[in-house]
Amino acid sequence: MVSDSPSAAVPAISIENLRFQYGEKQVIHDVTLDIPSREITAFIGPSGCGKSTLLRCFNRINDRIPGARVTGGSIRVAGIDIARPDLDLQTLRRRVGMVFQKWNPFPKSIFDNVAYGLRIHGEKDRSALEERVEYCLRRVALWDDVKDRLKSSAFGLSGGQQQRLCIARTIATRPDIILMDEPCSALDPLSTLKIEELLLELKNDYTIVIVTHNLAQASRCSDKTAFFFLGKLIEHGPTTKIFTKPDQQQTESYVSGAFG
């Protein structure tokens, strides 16, 4: 249903007049935004502005939160409305991977963590699994650190390594889009740097949407930036423009550090 090589013409994700509520509280107001393929789009804005919620709509992981619902508008992933009743949710989530704010490897071995997604989708062949696991771990620059202890617990890794393991786990199922919800907010500067380098390397193959509180991070590694405030999309555009000469006064005060 989702085409294998999305053309540049169709945006990876296109959001139209999206409204979203937690119970009676409206947290996203009429957001319209296109997210281009093979680029890094950063969502910035103060806490509680709805950027994480919006991100979590893209793979419908918000479905499991009681009272959370989309009340208007639509989200299309590669042209397919993801609210359609005939949508295969499992395939959507495989193609739209997610990396969480708090790294959350399973209490299994490093190997099993990366292989988890592959096994869900029916890969049983041991050598194919090994090959894919090695590829993914190399891709996140973790292979050399862990190749001798693939069978040991993922919990023995450092925070930054665990987060990179989670990214490896996400790319193992060959997604097209990777959603990242503040992936570096609990990491030290050096680990953050490594993840940022990784993002720049990954964007050749994946569309990446990253929510971040770190403005420097957004300006360093994103191509497009969208600024949210109180559930509304205030402004979006190329990152350099947002950070140097934004159209909106609010954006300018936020990126210059006047508030937030």
């Binding site: 992981i61 708090k102 959350n104 490897p105 988890y116 997604g117």
Partner: protein
């Protein structure tokens, strides 16, 4: 800082005395409980150990563990020597010496031979009930914790389950008698006369005539009794599994059931097993629920003797240790000759619980060590 001498205390230190008193009272309570437990265990071991243990090799009176329960005959022979023989040996003695050489004979029911029957019965009952309770209990807990939407109805269900834990065990016994023994459905070719409802299926009948007093009825009753504990503890264990694991699994495209099976249940298992260790000891020790549903005071054969297949075993009645202890204590006149069986049974029962718990704890630790926290 002004007046640094304020840092130094003057006079009697009342606060320290108060703290010491609190510590002494709390400590006294704890050690009091330990003392009472030691007294109980000490008494049982003091009286029970000599029955089971022997000074010479192999140090254990295996006959007591492997022989069936018999009536004990106590009598004097012609020369005035006092004999106490279990029924099987007694008949041999009578044949050899003749009935006329027996004087002052008294018999004590259930006091001779061993207690193999009750041991086997209790083991089967405990295992079967814990398997049943885990199956139903964990399923219910998964539903309550993973699927059910929190609402008034689910809160009532939870409250009902908690209250079930407070129902006296004799009520469970009567419930088991009314439901499992008398009314539970069976497939049968010839419905019994007291069947409540018999539905013809063509080739056989589906008849609500109960399972009679049987291993399966008793295990089901015990399972009902321990279900509340298992459900509540399992639900808590499931809830303690971090939400992050569920989200990570779902975000990788796993279905809900797959996520529960691979990412929630394995991590909740140690907690679930801990609750079942407690329940196991309770199921093994209860007398009231099995009185009407399975237990018999005397039985000459093991459940598998004369049974046709595993189903036959499930349909047989068994002796059970708690019920045996109750019978010896309350239903036959107590004397020096009944004490051997009495104390021996209690001692063996304690050892069995100890064994069950140890095995479960080892099992739990193995499960836990497989998780790579």
């Amino acid at each position: 800082m002004e007046n640094p001498e304020q840092l130094l205390r003057k006079g009697v230190h009342h606060e320290a005395l108060k703290q010491g008193a609190v510590k002494a009272v709390l400590g006294g309570m704890a050690w009091g409980v330990v003392l009472i437990a030691l007294l109980i265990f000490g008494r049982i071991c003091w009286d029970g150990a000599p029955v089971l243990l022997k000074p010479e090799f192999p140090f254990v009176d295996t006959a007591f563990l492997t022989e069936k329960t018999e009536t004990l005959h106590v009598f004097d022979d012609a020369s005035g020597t006092r004999h106490s023989l279990p029924a099987s040996e007694y008949h041999g003695w009578v044949e050899k010496h003749g009935a006329e050489s027996i004087f002052n004979e008294t018999t004590y029911s259930y006091s001779g031979g061993g207690i193999a029957g009750p041991i086997v019965g209790t083991a089967l009952l405990t295992l079967l009930s814990i398997v049943l309770a885990l199956f139903f209990g964990v399923s219910a807990a998964i539903y309550l914790s993973e699927y059910a939407k929190d609402g008034a109805f689910i809160r009532w269900v939870r409250l009902a389950i908690l209250n079930l834990a407070g129902v006296p065990s004799i009520v469970f016994g009567l419930f088991g008698f009314a439901v499992f023994v008398l009314a539970a459905p069976v497939f049968t070719d010839t419905p019994s006369e007291r069947s409540l409802l018999a539905i013809p299926l063509g080739f056989t009948w589906f008849s609500f005539q109960g399972w009679n007093s049987s291993l399966i009825a008793g295990s089901a009753t015990l399972a009902c009794m321990i279900l509340p504990v298992i459900i509540t503890a399992s639900e808590e264990s499931l809830k303690a599994v971090p939400q992050g694991f569920r989200e990570a699994s779902l975000a990788l495209g796993a279905t809900r059931w797959h996520t529960i099976r691979k990412c929630v249940l394995p991590f909740a298992l140690p907690g679930i097993l801990t609750s079942s260790i407690l329940s196991l000891a309770r199921a093994a020790g209860e007398t009231a629920p099995i009185m009407f549903t399975v237990a018999v005071a005397a039985k000459d054969d093991f459940p598998w003797e004369g049974a046709t297949g595993p189903l036959g075993v499930l349909q047989s009645q068994v002796q059970a240790l708690p019920y045996h202890i109750y019978t010896l204590a309350a239903r036959i006149p107590s004397s020096d000759y009944t004490q051997r069986a009495q104390y021996g049974s209690v001692f063996v029962f304690l050892l069995m619980i100890f064994l069950f718990s140890t095995v479960s704890i080892i099992l739990r630790n193995r499960v836990r060590s497989k998780l790579k926290w």
